[in-house]
């Protein structure tokens, strides 16, 4: 039942009196009205701004926060009002919904802030009134697309290199040349050869001076035929090699073969092979010459190298309907005017307008305001229609052009925005990371100053001391205490990055000494047994990677067996370390690296608490 009718329910119940005389059975007893006084004002204090309304108003929609007993959780005894620590500006709209039954979306508010408020107050956004619903949906879709773009960019940028197959690695190198130096080199080399090839095609046709025993001027292509042939061969070799590599690396070969770029590649190299196959026959030489024209398509290969070119192509594709309209209207106009001009000029002597198709040329040249002057009307009628033709040409062309321009501008700005966001994101990530590191460093300081003593009582005292000093605000000290509890719970400790990495190196060296493949090589196994989401967020990787997660807190395992040699021995016994991926300790994205021996002997030794830094198995955790 819609909430708005709640106020009319008494009327509906009263109207039931019409059934009473005709009823043949006794009526059921009405429910007892528990809350006698439904009357009364309610004061809603939202971050200091006081709103007042009738209790009835709020109870119109009993499945929302304000209309149900859920609001009692926010009742503030001392001031006898309901206090909400939320945004008062948006709350105004929410309260208006109760009053009028219509929910409006204020255009100047951020869409996600608004959504959050609605979710908090238990109002579904679908009841936004018609006046505002479209705007709301548009903004929401735009926001979602933007976030999705960001995520995709994240994905494409942040996949770790360790866990790709060679084929995937190759494909990624092709698609994103900035990922590795080799890919970049290849990228530039191919670009260079494309340029060379195109220039060779152009220079081939330049007249190069007379041969001594010929009278005709030779083009450079004929004079230095061998040189050009070698150049062409070299370019085509490279292009073929590149194409085959791409074909091999493509995740879906069929889809790759259908894509535009691959078609361009094929068209670029085909003429050469066809030329090889065909003999220098007179009959086919004409066709052969035509094929050479296709070599100029190599210039389109540049679109892999230039984003602007891709945008242009995309724009034209997206404006296909406008272009089609332009073409169609021009065709119509051309036919009309050509016919008119033909019949107008039919009478004049030595007229160039020999047929209607011949007049097409005149019409096109006139409508596009080129005016070569090779065909001009001589009769007066012809001149009159010629001027009408040129005037209308301007109009017909000017109409669809703004649409194309605006499309191009929109797409271009979108791509610029994507670039900008990518650049901004790096700096944002760096700043956030710095802030997080400051936080963890504060915790390190807290630990080092207070809690390094191994004995529990000592640490307690130190903790008390620390508390009495009270240099840090209560929030922070509670946070630190929490982290400390966590450490105690898991028998692991927090360390900073340098220590972690040095210990990493130590492990690898230890493992090599123990005739095992390096722990780092075992990391693929490690990450492969984690879910894909972990792969994105967490990283167990070499120190070289620096483009990953937003924050890391390293956890060092504290093996209860303290001697290094025994651990070594155990490692050697096992033949290696098993990698546990269970996430029972800290966060779901944590990854631990623990020899099985530790847990078994964990119960044996008491909580000595001494940390041996040298033999720690370091794991890296990304904090959620």
């Amino acid at each position: 039942m819609a909430g708005g009718v709640a106020a009319w329910l008494p009327f509906a119940r009263a109207a039931a009196i019409g059934w009473m005389p005709v009823a043949s059975a006794p009526m059921p007893i009405p429910p007892k009205d528990k809350r006698k006084s439904q009357e009364g004002l309610i004061i809603l204090n939202v971050s200091g701004t006081k709103f007042q309304t009738w209790k009835n108003t709020l109870e119109r929609y009993p499945d929302t926060l304000l209309g149900s007993t859920e609001r009692d959780f926010f009742f503030h005894e001392e001031t006898n009002e309901y206090f909400f620590d939320r945004d008062p500006d948006i709350f105004r709209h929410i309260l208006n919904f109760y009053r009028t039954g219509k929910l409006h979306y204020p255009r100047q508010e951020c869409i996600s802030a608004y959504d959050e408020e609605l979710a908090f107050f238990g109002i579904i956004p679908e009841i936004i009134g018609d006046c505002c619903y479209e705007e709301y949906k548009d903004r929401r879709r735009e926001n979602a697309e933007r976030l999705q773009d960001d995520e995709e960019m994240d994905q494409s940028n942040d996949t770790t290199p360790v866990n790709l197959t060679p084929r995937e690695y190759l494909w990624r190198a092709f698609e994103n040349p900035h990922t590795s130096t080799l890919a970049l080199v290849f990228y530039y080399v191919t670009g260079f050869f494309i340029a060379i090839s195109v220039m060779a095609n152009v220079v081939e046709t330049v007249p190069c001076g007379l041969m001594p025993n010929r009278s005709k001027e030779l083009s450079c292509g004929d004079r230095y035929a061998l040189a050009f042939f070698c150049l062409d061969t070299a370019c085509v070799m490279i292009f073929t090699f590149e194409y085959l590599l791409r074909l091999v690396a493509a995740p879906c070969r069929f889809k790759f073969m259908k894509s535009v770029m691959s078609v361009i590649d094929v068209v670029a190299i085909m003429p050469y092979y066809i030329g090889l196959v065909m003999t220098d026959n007179d009959q086919v030489s004409g066709a052969f010459v035509t094929l050479r024209v296709f070599r100029v398509f190599r210039i389109f290969k540049f679109s892999r190298h230039s984003a602007g070119l891709r945008i242009l192509g995309y724009t034209l594709k997206s404006c296909a309907s406008e272009l089609g309209f332009l073409l169609f209207s021009l065709t119509m106009a051309i036919i009309i005017f050509a016919t008119v001009m033909f019949y107008a000029e039919k009478g004049s002597t030595a007229s160039k307008f020999t047929s209607i198709p011949a007049a097409f040329w005149y019409t096109i040249v006139t409508m596009t305001t080129l005016g070569y002057g090779d065909m001009v009307p001589k009769t007066i009628v012809g001149k009159v229609f010629g001027s009408i033709c040129s005037l209308s040409g301007v109009l017909v062309i000017a109409l669809p052009v703004p649409v194309i321009v605006s499309n191009f501008s929109r797409i271009y700005h979108q791509s610029q925005r994507a670039e900008k966001r990518r650049a901004q994101r790096k700096s944002r990530v760096a700043k956030i990371r710095a802030a997080k590191i400051r936080g963890t460093n504060a915790y390190m300081r807290y630990k080092h100053s207070g809690v390094m003593d191994s004995v529990e009582e000592a640490s307690k005292e130190a903790g008390k001391l620390l508390v009495s000093k009270a240099t840090s605000p209560p929030f922070e000290s509670q946070h630190h205490h929490l982290l400390h509890c966590l450490e105690k719970t898991t028998n692991h400790e927090f360390v900073d990055e340098q220590t972690f990495q040095t210990n990493c190196m130590e492990i690898s060296m230890m493992n090599k000494a123990g005739s095992r493949s390096s722990s780092l090589a075992s990391s693929p196994r490690l990450s492969s047994c984690c879910s894909r989401r972990h792969r994105k967020k967490s990283s167990f990787s070499l120190p070289s990677t620096n483009n990953q997660e937003l924050s890391t807190i390293q956890i060092r395992e504290r093996p209860v067996v303290n001697s290094r040699s025994s651990l070594n021995a155990r490692l050697n016994d096992d033949g290696g370390m098993t990698l546990k991926c269970d996430a029972s300790y800290i966060t779901p994205s944590m990854v631990t690296l623990s020899p099985p021996a530790v847990t078994s002997s964990g119960g044996g030794d008491g909580p000595t608490g001494s940390i041996t830094y040298s033999q720690s198995n370091i794991v890296r955790v990304s904090a959620l």
């Binding site: 008494p10 009327f11 005389p21």
Partner: protein, 233 residues
Amino acid sequence: MKTKNRDQSLSDSRELDGSYDQLTDSIEDDFELSTVCHRPESMDKLQDQTKFTKKELQVLYRGFKNCGCSLLCLCFVPQECPSGVVNEENFKTIYSQFFPQGDSSMYAHFLFEAFDTDKNGSVSFEDFVFGLSIILRGTINDRLNWAFNLYDLNKDGCITKEEMLDIMKSIYDMMGKCTYPNMQDEAPREHVENFFQKMDRNKDGVVTIEEFIESCQKDENIMQSMQLFDNVI
């Protein structure tokens, strides 16, 4: 403040304005009509005329004035919603919200006829409050009178079988199709027969007001159920 008749207020404004144009009048009429606001009589007067307290009148009025408009917007019904009065379409829409599984339009129509005492096609707040006052605060006799008035569709003082059949059908329509046991087509008619057997003393085929009141007073069930909704407001 006296409640003006809609036409009356319109002609007043025309005189004052002096811009009355016969040719274009019809179009402006519509716009003007929709913005004519109907204000009810003062609360003191209403309090004298009905048996509601001030607080109850306040609650009733707020519900009447607000929800008349907002509810329709919720139902996506694009209709004019003059503030202060409820017309039959609104009435039907509001009532149908309470009976989603059946068709309550006929019964709502009869109710509308019963509430709209001055027969001007819309239920003003006074009509509304007067009606409710009788139902909720009146004596048993008053209520029985009101119910009789509801059944007597042509207001000629007696209920015929056809009128009763219409009423009965409208009540059964509100149940909808999904009932247990299954709704038979003959159910209303049978019910009407039973009703007339009980009420029609002199077996003349119609039920007059005296017969009605007398028969109801003899029936314990009816007397009890008449008092069921005393505490609705």
